[in-house]
């Protein structure tokens, strides 16, 4: 009998780990696929901030694949994902999370992948009723249909709650050995994990998409509101995760490094942005993101920069501003007093 091949959407969480294991137990050849949108990147912030650099770092999707003994293909979908985020057919969740469109997109990409690699079907760790947007029972068929996967999409953890799929009808997998999980209760997953001997898995239902974060979403919206278009690049996504963002004027904002790790990371952007720091006192590196930035703007930014350095109580501090082309401006400013930095400037 031909061994059937499935690709599993491995996020790094418990559900996809278990769904993959269920398929492996049935003798299916499984390889993992993980889509990098630019937003599912908890590890990035950990890598940036010095205080987090001592923490154990691991990519949970890679960890899952290793536990399972399957290959993992990590696919960069940053460019294609822009359309999902900018024009979600089904709208956003509580913040800028386009969960239903995101899931549809990823399953569609997985469908393209199985066609290109001669695989038979797709599996996910979805559980009926577990999440309010993308895992509602009534939406699961919609996602299967709109992604184009239709009945090539099997959800092993809740398959018994859903209509039979092609792999079940064709006997590629045994439906009786699939599961009937539903709802937000995680105990069945934890019990199954224990049965399989998985102990060190990522926090259940942890989620790792920055777009579900209110503060991050506000920064994205602010960025869009102050640019001619809503387009973005990976660097934009990254910088929204770093530092304090302060917008004293419509035409520019400051990104103020909060500690050494962030300052170091931001140094890599000094050829793209005006960068400012105080030379007379230790302090943060600051990037200016904006357009038509005047000398007066740079001076204002210098005063704010001084506010966050060790010269905050000095009468004046020396400031150096480096333009992207390398030109350097030096000047003295009085640090801005705390009460002059308006709360609404903080993005």
């Amino acid at each position: 009998m031909t061994q059937r091949k499935a690709v599993s959407l491995i996020s790094g969480g418990l559900d996809s780990l278990l769904a993959t294991k269920v398929m492996l137990e049935q003798g299916v050849h499984v390889e993992g696929i993980n889509f990098f949108t630019g937003f599912c990147v908890e590890g990035h912030t950990h890598a940036i901030r010095k205080r987090d650099q001592q923490k154990e770092k691991r990519n949970n999707a890679l960890w899952c694949a290793e536990q399972l003994g399957v290959k993992l293909h990590i696919i960069d979908v940053i460019e294609e994902y822009k359309d999902v985020l900018l024009n979600p057919k089904h709208g956003y969740g509580a913040n800028l999370n386009p969960c239903q469109d995101c899931k549809t997109f990823m399953i569609h990409k997985a469908l393209e992948w199985i066609k290109a690699h001669d695989f038979d079907f797709i599996i996910t760790g979805e559980v009926v009723g577990q999440r309010p947007m993308s895992q509602r029972k009534d939406l699961m068929p919609v996602i299967a249909r709109e992604s184009g996967a239709n009945d090539l999409l099997l959800r092993p953890l809740c398959a018994k709650n859903l209509p039979e799929t092609l792999p079940e009808r064709e006997g590629w997998v045994d439906r009786s050995r699939l599961l009937d999980f539903s709802g937000r209760n995680r105990k069945p997953q934890m019990a199954l994990a224990a049965q399989y001997g998985f102990t060190d898995y990522a926090t259940p239902a942890g989620g790792c998409c920055f777009l579900t974060d209110e503060n991050y979403s506000k920064k994205v919206v602010d960025m869009w509101q102050h640019r001619p278009s809503r387009d973005y690049e990976l660097d934009d996504i990254m910088l929204l995760k770093v530092g304090r963002h302060i917008r004293p004027k419509d035409n520019f904002k400051l990104i103020v490094g909060r500690e050494e790790g962030e300052n170091k990371f931001m140094e890599g952007y000094r050829k793209q942005f005006i960068s400012i720091y105080t030379t007379s006192h230790p302090g943060p590196l600051v990037l200016l993101d904006g357009r038509d930035i005047s000398d007066a703007d740079i001076e204002l930014a210098g005063r704010i920069t001084a506010r966050f350095g060790q010269g905050r109580d000095a009468e004046t501090v020396d400031v150096e501003a480096r333009l992207p082309g390398g030109e350097i401006k030096t000047f003295q400013v009085a640090p801005m007093p705390p009460h002059a930095i308006k709360p609404e400037w903080y993005v």
Binding site: A47, N59, L62, E66, I74
Partner: protein, 76 residues
């Protein structure tokens, strides 16, 4: 057998892994790839990716702010 280099500095995981993965696809079994990164997470992630995909990490080292991972491409 040839030796190649990949500059994956100033990008954060998983991008160094993705760049490594995409470069390895173009190489032959037995070729060596030296990947230079600045994200220390690459010291865990690239070896993990190698283990699950059948490639061998020959050496990892830190040099100033860089982490350097030398790997040998395995059979497809």
């Amino acid at each position: 057998m040839s030796q190649y280099e990949l500059d994956a500095r100033r990008i954060l995981c998983p991008m160094p892994v993705i760049r490594t993965q995409n470069r390895v696809v173009e190489l032959q079994p037995g070729d060596t790839l030296i990947v230079t990164c600045t994200d220390p997470g690459a010291l865990n992630d690239i070896p993990a990716w190698c283990r699950i995909n059948g490639h061998t990490v020959i050496k990892t080292e830190r040099r100033d702010d860089d982490v350097i991972i030398t790997l040998e491409v395995g059979a497809a």
